[in-house]
Every structure is written in C-alpha cells, then in structure tokens.
Amino acid sequence: MILFDGKTYESSEQDRLLTELKDRIPVILSGKQLSPEVVVDAVDILREDLLKGRFDELLTSFPKDVVATYKKQAEALLSKEHLHKKIATELGDTEEYITDPMDGFSQILVKKMPLGVLFHIAAGNMDFLPAYSLAEGLMTGNINILKLPSADNGLSLKLIMQLIEYRPELKDYIYVFDTASTDIQGMRKMAELSNAISVWGSDMAIEAVRGLAPTGVKIIEWGQKLGFCYISRLDEVKDAKEELEGLAKHIATTKQLLCSSCQVIYLDTENPDELRSFAVRFLPLLEKAANENASEEIGVLARDTLISYTQRLKGYLGEEEKQENVLRGRGVSLILSSDSVLELSPMMCNVLIKPLPRAKAGEVLYESRYHLQTAGLICPDEDRGSLADLFTRCGIIRVTKGSDMSAYFPGECHDGEYALSRYVRIVNVEK
C-alpha cells in the first residue's frame, strides 16, 4: 500500500507515483512552508483520540501492560506542551534573527529552514518508530518520503493517515511506500528525489544505503549501537537485589533487541570466580523475569528458543558465542567470558558476563567507539559520578540505572545529537 497525496494506492503504482512526485516537489517547495504548529496540532489530536480508546482495536496485538505503558508515554510525550519543549530544546532559537552590526561587514538574517525532502528508511525494531521518524521530519517542515520496514504491521500507516485526516494540509508533505528492500531501483529513485536520507540500522544497512545514494545527498545515520551494564562493588550497593531485579526485567522486556539493551554485564574485577558467583546469583533473577515477561504466544516462544538454540550450535561451530562457561536456565543463559570485548550477545535473554576492571575501561570502549551508546550502572552512590564521567569521556552517550537502560527521558538526545537539528539547515540573507 502506498500513501500519496493523502490517498492510498496499490504498491504496483509505485513507479508512476514516483515520477509524478518528481514534478510535485518543486511546486510544493516553491509555493509554501509547513508550520510546525500544524504538526503539533495534529499529533495532539492523535494523542487525545488514543487516550479516548479510538485506536484500541489496532493495539490488540500488544500485551495489555505494554498498551498501558504506551498510552502513559503518549499522554506525556505527544502533548502540545512537550512537543513545544522538544522543538525549543532540539532546534534552539528557531526564531529568525539579524546579526549584530560590525564595522566593515553587512548584517545578515539568520534562520533555520527545512532540508527539503527527507527520505526515511526506518527499522522495525521499535513499534511506532517509522511514524515517529516521519513526525520529526514534519516538525522541521520537510517533505517526507517514508519506506516502511517489512516487519511493519500496518500500524504506522494507519497513524500517519490519521494525522492527514486531522490536518489535511499535511498531505503535501507525506509520501509512504511499502517498497520491498530488494527493490533497489525503487529505493534509488526515492533517494534521488531527496536532499537527505535518514537511515536506521546496522553497519551493513548503512553501507547499503551509502551505495545507492547519489553523491551530495546528506546521509543521516542512526546506526546500530551496543549497550552494557557495569557493576562495581555490588556488596556495597544499597538495594542490590532490587537493582539486579530491575536489570533482569530490562533484559527480559527488551529481549536485548534495542540499541540501548544490555548485551554484556561487566563486573569491575579481574577475578573469574567473582564472575561465576555473580552469574549464580543473577541466573534465578533473570529466569524469573523472563518467565514473567514471556510472550504467551507459542509461535513467538518457539521462535525465540530456535534462535538461541541455533546461536548455541553456531558457537560449537566456532562461528559465534564463546562456549567457555555457560549457565543455563529455562529460556535464559549467562555466558561467562574471559575477554572484555563489547559485542552483541545472542540476545533473547542470553547475556554475556565479562570482567572489566575500571582501569581498563578506556581501552575497551575505545575499541568499540563506533557503537557506543548506553551504559547502565549498578554501583554504590558515591561511585556514580566518577563512573559516569569516565564512561562519557570514553564515548558513552547515555548513563542510566541498570533497570532504565532503555527508558525514555524527556529532553534526551539520540546517539549524541538532537534529531530535529539534523533535519534543518541554517540560511543567511544579507540585509
């Protein structure tokens, strides 16, 4: 299904519509500019309808507590007040201004303008991400071409259509295609229409996009990141049990699928016996959390089991997971490793446990500098500041509690940048 000019079309019409879009874009760009207020308004109405239960039917595939969490988040994050705050934080001074006079130079008008046409290639690992990415493009006044991820279940398209229903003037700025990822010609055509491509995905995905993008197009990368939890002096941590339970819950609920999810638990030690005794203590907590958060759907359970069993066998083939020391529980495992490398775990509640004495942290993090994002901390309160300083100096973007590694914090940046500021350019006009 394609969404074009506020109407839906069959996927087979993609080629014709892209050709038509090429003629439309200059007309729209030269004719007017989208005000962020229109978008804020539409999102706010969407929020109200969501809270009234208008979309409950669309959310039946999610577990009930997940729907409740989403609604709670939407109530706060999609409100007019928060959106205005987001725009102010991320774009800074959006009002245009004139530079101070300086002898011998002309004054200029400075203002932020949309990039023009933004092509979003969204990943499917977070619900609503495609719609969210598109909304960010709209708030900055861009024309948006969105390629839906193949795993999308129709929810994104429905929400986007709602926005147009609330504020029909948005239709000129929204073009959604369900292009298959194998349709290189189609994706290339979309890239050729754009000023910038916003791409979410792994290193390989980004490489692929770089390959198809015309020279000169700006590529805005939201690459794959690796998160870890750092545990130091656990015996001296107040409420250590609750902290570990929080970490276990984080692992079980995200199944380690997000960029911010915990892949490795580092212990501030060099002693392998400490690793093992920690694992023995943590295993039942993780097992309990996994059990409480397990999907009830047998197809999902079976798939997760098959994936982790396959990973385990690949380990025996020497292709993945190191098999030195594995503690297994029902549906979970803790893999003890002697090295300190930050790497992707087999996911699905199969966590790596590694030693990382504080003194070596810099060396290890530098090795992973392209993939750093979130560090969860479980340590005595007096250590928090110094560890946060150490990690952020070495490239970490977010430092959180162990339980909050994937939590959203209003006002936070994404991978060290504000998304909105990447979707605009600054123009100068001589007075």
């Binding site: 977070m126 692929a208 794959q224 759907e297 798939r303 098959l306 396959t310 690949k314 083939l317």
Partner: protein, 367 residues
C-alpha cells in the same frame, strides 16, 4: 548402511513393530556422520553426544535446526544430487543426497504412493500448481512436483508458475483455458503442488462464477507447504468445499503431502486427512522453551528424525513448524502409527532487532 537398507525395505510402510530397527539405523547413520562431517561432530561434542552409545532413544540424537542449515552449509562426503529448500524467507538449506539415499527414497516413495492408491496406470492430465522445471531452479519442490507427474502416465503437463525474464509468475488464465478443454475429455486431471496457489485458483474460479465437472478419478495432490498462507489454511473445510464446487472433486480425492527438503520423507494424508508417521521416520514434539520432548497431544516444535541420508547430517532436524503428535490407534483409516498435525509456523524469523530493519536492506547490498 545395512540397517538403513533393511528399514527402507520394510514391506508395510506404516509398520509399528520396527522401532528397534529404526533406532539401530539411526545409530548407524550417526556413526557415519560423526566420522565424515566435521561440523556435525563439533556440534555433537558440544551437546555431549560423542558416540552412538550415548544414544539410547531417538530423542537423544543431536537436533539440528533447519534455521542453522539455512545459515551453514554442512558437507559430509560424496553426493550425487543437491536440492535446496524453496527459501520462503530468502535463505536456503542445501541438502546433498548420495546414491543410497536416493535409492532408499525411491523405494519409500513407491511403497507409500502404492499404499495410498496414487500410482495408477490410467493416463491423466497434470496441472502442476508450482514451478516449471528450469535449469535456474534447484528447489526440491520443483523437482518433486515434476517427479510426481510420473506416478500415472501423463497425457499433458501444465505449470502455473512460468519462468519469465522477471522470475516466476503465476499464469491463472491459461489454467482456466486448459480446464475448459479437459472438462470435455475423458482423462482424469491431477492437480499437484502448492496448496496456496490451488486455493487462489478456486477463489478466482468462484469470483468469475466458473465451475467445471472434471472426469471421474481426478485428484488434487497438495504439497510444498502452505507457506505464508497459513491464515487461509486455517480453513481447510472451505478448501474441500471449494474443490467440490469449482472442480467437482470430492474430499477423499484430495491428498496432501508433507515433507521438507531437510527431511525428505513422504508423509501422505490418509482418507481422514491425517499424516501418519511411516516406518522410515520418527517425530518428536519438543517444548517450545526447553526443547524437552513432550507427550502426545501437546503442541510444540516439530523434530523430524530419519536415517535416510548420509551425505548431509539431516538425521534429526528441527523445523520451524509447530505441531501435535496424536495417537494413531483411533484413526478410522486403520493405520495405527501416530499422526502429525501441523498447527502453524513459529513467528516470522525476521525478528525485529536493530539490525533487522536493516537485514531487510542487506538483501540489496549489492548495488
């Protein structure tokens, strides 16, 4: 491979008295694989099974998921023929067969099809709801669908998927034309291939208000999996009704096959539409979380076991299918062996990781 020969020479394809021979043939196969396939032996060592003496029941045999076979090419010595899975999700397993495996498979196919009355000397017309064989297509589905057209002498063969410069495309119109012609003739018509396309054909005929009275003895033979059409598959009754309405083919003339390239055993549905387990294989249903064997009647992952092949380690494989093994003693068809009911598939394996939205795009890396 003395025990394999003995097992595949069993006279009655649903003989329930051969479990000892079956286990023996599996252990014989295991001993061969572990000495001829290094990757298999690495996995077995990892799982703690180092010799056939560690295998006291079929459940003990190391299980290789087809998911792994799609990511890793296992080799175990010389082979004659290679087949690949149809790659529904873009990845394929490669399975190699040596002469002994092919010979055993042939003996099995003859015995099973004869038992089910599928072998016939009466010439008929075939409509293959699958691929037309082409040198660019190595999928087992294409090969087996084609081979099946030799179970009764063929007057003609028509294929619904045609190879075009843009890949395989379904061609329903020419099938409709052919049906108009066949209806007037005397030779029975046999449909063979993907159930999903057959279902679509029925739907198209129904929409167009077309129905045919095909000659007596016409059959619909379904294999190749329901693929992504499981939602439709939920309604088999509708399928049977549509077969009657659009082609005048009775329910008892609809025969289903189940199998996988990684487990090339021919499961053929009985008149009660049950897939009884033949003497050549065993099925273990495993817990979707712990992978422990489950009792009959419980739903879990389908683990298929057969000592058919020695050129690829497919002795015990785990499919992506979810199923139930039922006690066969109660089946009205008279076969006493347990029967498999396929419930569906595990959730799509394009799991949504950060890298997954991505994995989508990876398919197009070569630009």
């Amino acid at each position: 491979m003395k025990l394999r020969r003995k097992l595949f020479s069993s006279k009655y394809p649903y003989d329930c008295t051969k479990s000892e021979l079956f286990l023996g043939a599996c252990r014989e196969n295991f001993d061969h694989l572990i000495t001829h396939c290094e990757d298999y032996s690495k996995i077995c060592r990892g799982l703690g099974i180092t010799s056939s003496e560690d295998i006291s029941k079929v459940e003990d045999i190391p299980v290789i998921p087809t998911m792994l076979m799609k990511q890793h090419d296992f080799r175990a010595g010389r082979y004659m023929v290679m087949a690949t899975s149809s790659g529904t999700s873009g990845k394929m397993s490669r399975v190699r067969f040596e002469f002994g495996a092919l010979w055993s498979a042939l003996k099995m196919s003859l015995k099973v099809t004869r038992y089910h009355g599928i072998i016939s000397m009466r010439p008929c017309r075939y409509i293959v709801m699958g691929y037309k064989p082409h040198r660019s297509n190595k999928t087992a589905v294409a090969k087996t669908a084609y081979l099946t057209t030799f179970l009764a002498p063929a007057l003609s063969r028509k294929f619904i998927l045609k190879h075009t410069p843009d890949g395989y495309k379904p061609d329903f119109e020419s099938i409709v034309e052919a049906l108009k012609k066949y209806e007037k003739g005397k030779a029975p018509v046999r449909f063979m291939g993907f159930p999903s396309y057959t279902f679509f054909l029925f739907r198209i005929l129904e929409e167009k208000g077309l129905s045919f009275k095909l000659p007596k003895g016409s059959k619909i033979m379904l294999g190749g999996g329901w693929k992504q059409f499981y939602q439709e598959a939920a309604d088999k009754e509708t399928f049977y009704k549509l077969a009657k309405k659009t082609l005048d083919i009775e329910e008892e003339n609809i025969v289903e096959f189940y199998g996988a390239v990684e487990h090339p055993i021919l499961y053929t549905s009985c008149p009660a539409h049950h897939f009884h387990v033949p003497v050549y294989s065993n099925i273990v249903i495993r817990d979707p979380v712990s992978l422990e064997p489950l009792e009959k009647g419980q739903t879990g992952l389908v683990n298929l076991i057969s000592p058919l092949c020695k050129a690829t380690p497919i002795l015990s494989i785990m499919t992506d299918d979810l199923g139930i093994l039922h006690d066969g003693a109660t089946c009205p068809c008279g076969v006493k062996s347990p029967y498999l009911e396929i419930i569906g598939r595990v959730a799509p394996d394009d799991i949504k990781t950060c890298a997954a939205g991505a994995a989508d795009i990876i398919k197009g890396v070569k630009v």
